[in-house]
């Protein structure tokens, strides 16, 4: 190791010692614009700490902390510094693109982003991710077959699912007859003004394209326009009340909404307090997305991969799933969960049936990156 510190080590030291830096360190920081990330030197030693950024309340959670993280420490000796600072893909990307575009490390080994947004594929395209160290992840064989070859990372070189979720239709049976199709959602006059769609282009477009008889995983200008026009009509007529993120959950449980385009995991929680809520994959087809573990440039690929391997043990996955209640990407977790918490194991919103999985698809990732489509979409939801 030469005297010149790599950028990452510099930042690590600065973090320990505050903003006061040594002169050689300053010179190294100012002069070096290339990213000398130690992640690319395939050192096979586990780091002391693993810095893991995740969405809030997205891991097993008890008063004393996160049991699976403690178990990881016991097994490998690596402490996981866990940050719950992701609450939205776009904002998180907006924050990390600053340092990453300057070749600086963002001080993380694992981040989690959703593939119904363009950011995971954008990160790959820009070269801002480290490759997974697959030799450290033998448990990758436990990955659900349907998730093994997403179109934006066909060989899973850069990503590994953390949790999955489905996009479908939720409805309140006290306020309406079952809403089982997207057609109903968009055009049934009885639901006028009591319906919301999702702000994510990938989510909403998937359902509407399916309802049009088109394939959301292969988007063309024509199919996109057709779906867009249909949604515009529904907005203009007052059918659609709002475009929401997950803030549909309040109005849905309070009865302001009769039906909403909703994510499976949310409804699991809402159903606990409101038995009138139901969720279905729409008849014509629904969407599936995954939150993926990614290793940003400058992160320690080996240690991160070791953690990923740990999480893909069915027993560990079951423990995490017991709390998170989205869709588990690990084969074998269901069986483990039947031993600990059979109610969760039986819930088809957490372990969907083959029928459901056959009827959902991930949105075309090329279309997600198409600036024209994105602008048209933003103009629709923000007129």
């Amino acid at each position: 190791m030469t005297d010149v510190l790599s950028r990452r080590q510099l930042l690590e030291r600065a973090a320990k010692g505050g903003a006061v830096l040594t002169l050689p360190g300053l010179l190294a920081a100012c002069g070096g614009s290339s990213s000398e990330s130690s992640g690319s030197e395939s050192d096979k030693t586990l780091a002391d700490t693993l810095r893991f950024s995740n969405w809030t309340l997205y891991i097993d959670n008890t008063k004393k902390g996160h049991p699976t993280l403690d178990m990881f420490k016991k097994e490998t000796g690596t402490t996981v510094k866990y940050f719950e600072d992701i609450n939205d893909n776009a904002s998180f990307f907006g924050k990390i693109q600053g340092p990453l575009s300057r070749g600086q490390s963002i001080d993380r080994d694992i981040i989690v982003m959703t593939d119904n947004s363009r950011y995971p594929s954008l990160l790959i395209k820009k070269g801002w991710l480290e490759k997974l160290d697959k030799s450290a992840i033998p448990n990758i064989k436990n990955l659900q077959p349907s998730l093994q070859h997403p179109n934006w990372d066909p060989d899973r070189d850069y990503s590994l699912p953390w949790q999955s979720g489905m996009t479908g239709i939720a409805y309140n049976d006290k306020l309406t007859d079952p809403v089982l199709s997207t057609d109903d959602l968009l055009e049934n006059p009885k639901l006028k003004g009591k319906v919301t769609l999702l702000t994510e282009m990938g989510d909403t477009m998937t359902l509407v394209m399916f309802a049009n008889g088109d394939d959301p995983s292969k988007v063309t200008d024509a199919t996109f326009d057709k779906a867009l026009k249909r949604i515009q009509k529904a907005v203009d007529s007052g059918q659609v009340r709002q475009f929401t993120g997950n803030d549909y959950s309040g109005p849905l449980s309070k009865g302001d909404l009769s039906a909403a385009m909703a994510w499976s995991g949310d409804v699991v929680q809402l159903q606990a307090d409101n038995k009138n809520l139901h969720w279905n994959v729409p008849e014509a087809g629904g969407g599936i997305w995954t939150d993926n573990m990614l290793i940003p440039k400058g992160g320690d690929a080996f240690t991160a991969s070791t953690y990923m391997n740990f999480v893909y043990k069915p027993r560990i996955a079951a423990l995490i799933e017991d709390y998170v209640n989205y869709i588990c990407p690990v084969v074998g977790a269901k069986e483990e969960l039947e031993k600990i918490d059979p109610d969760v194991a039986k819930n088809t919103l957490i372990f969907p049936t083959k029928e459901m999985l056959d009827n959902v698809v991930g949105f075309d990732s090329e279309a997600l990156a198409n600036q024209k489509y994105l602008e048209a979409w933003q103009n629709l939801i923000s007129s």
Partner: protein
């Protein structure tokens, strides 16, 4: 006399120096970078380069005129509502508050302790379609039987008014509290009715507070996006929402920067006009 008195010319600069230097470093410098960005062109994938792209400004004004105007409208209405609602309250605290004034001021800012999102969710509960408020409005005919308050422009304006209420109330209070009650008494001794005393004595003396309050409310409200996002439908979105989406979802940083400057220019123009209207002494003393 004193050092500062002898060196009169230096004093203002000495007073200004710490604050202005701070702003110069942590606001003006970032703003210059933003200005630089606003004249770039390109795409995120390929990269941006500086090309004196004045077209960004033209696009901003041309394509999003509706949202600009709507923002100024919503912010303006909310400011007027805030003024009307806050003035009597500030007056009451200033003149009738007694030793409890500070506590009452605390109650005005108390909503901010529970973060914006929680406040708004609470309002969503209060203004819910099946809730008491909407039920009452329906029964007296203001709303149709299937009318609603949420996801409308009304809810957005109401949200802005509520969330910027302290920004109006506190400056008003500050100005009102300074008024010497004996002036009002004197006016009444001279046969003025209570109302006339208010109009001729209190109100003019409180104008600096009114000006301060309206500026502190209108200016940030015009750039707000959160109220529209949570309380409005897609047709109620403000320019803040568009700038937000340009930056985050579309990663179109030059466009977001250009739009921000157009917004700032529009606001400052209105402030300049307002200053002229009110008479600059009220603004600058």
């Amino acid at each position: 006399m004193g050092f500062l008195h002898r060196h009169r010319n230096l004093t203002p600069y000495l007073l200004l120096a710490p604050g202005l230097l701070y702003l110069a470093l942590f606001f003006v410098v970032p703003l210059c970078f933003l200005a630089y960005q606003s004249l770039e062109s390109g795409t995120f994938d390929i990269g941006y380069s500086f090309t004196w792209a004045w077209g960004n400004y033209w696009d901003a004004i041309h394509n999003y005129r509706d949202q600009f105007i709507r923002s100024l409208e919503y912010a303006g209405i909310a400011t007027i509502l805030a003024l009307v609602f806050a003035y009597p309250l500030a007056y009451w605290i200033a003149f009738r508050g007694g030793r409890w004034k500070n506590l009452l001021l605390l109650f005005i800012v108390a909503p901010f302790f529970v973060t914006y999102l929680i406040r708004t969710l609470a309002w969503e509960t209060i203004l819910a379609d099946e809730g008491p408020v909407v039920g009452f409005l329906r029964s007296i005919g203001i709303l149709d039987d299937d009318g609603r308050l949420l996801a409308t422009g009304t809810a957005v304006v109401a949200g802005i008014t509520y969330n910027f209420f302290p920004f109006m109330a506190l400056p008003l209070y500050v100005s009102l509290e300074q008024i010497d009650e004996r002036l009002i008494e004197a006016a009444q001794d001279l046969y003025a009715s209570k109302w006339k005393a208010f109009l001729r004595v209190t109100l003019p003396l409180s104008l600096p507070g009114v000006v301060a309050g309206t500026l502190l409310t209108f200016i940030p409200a015009a750039g707000d996006f959160i109220n529209a996002q949570l309380l409005g439908s897609s047709q109620n979105h403000m320019i803040g929402n568009v700038i937000q989406s340009k930056f985050l979802e579309l990663t179109d940083y030059p466009a977001a920067a250009a739009m921000s400057f157009v917004l700032m220019a529009a606001i400052l123009l209105m402030v300049a006009f307002y200053a002229r209207l009110v008479g600059t002494e009220k603004l600058t003393g």
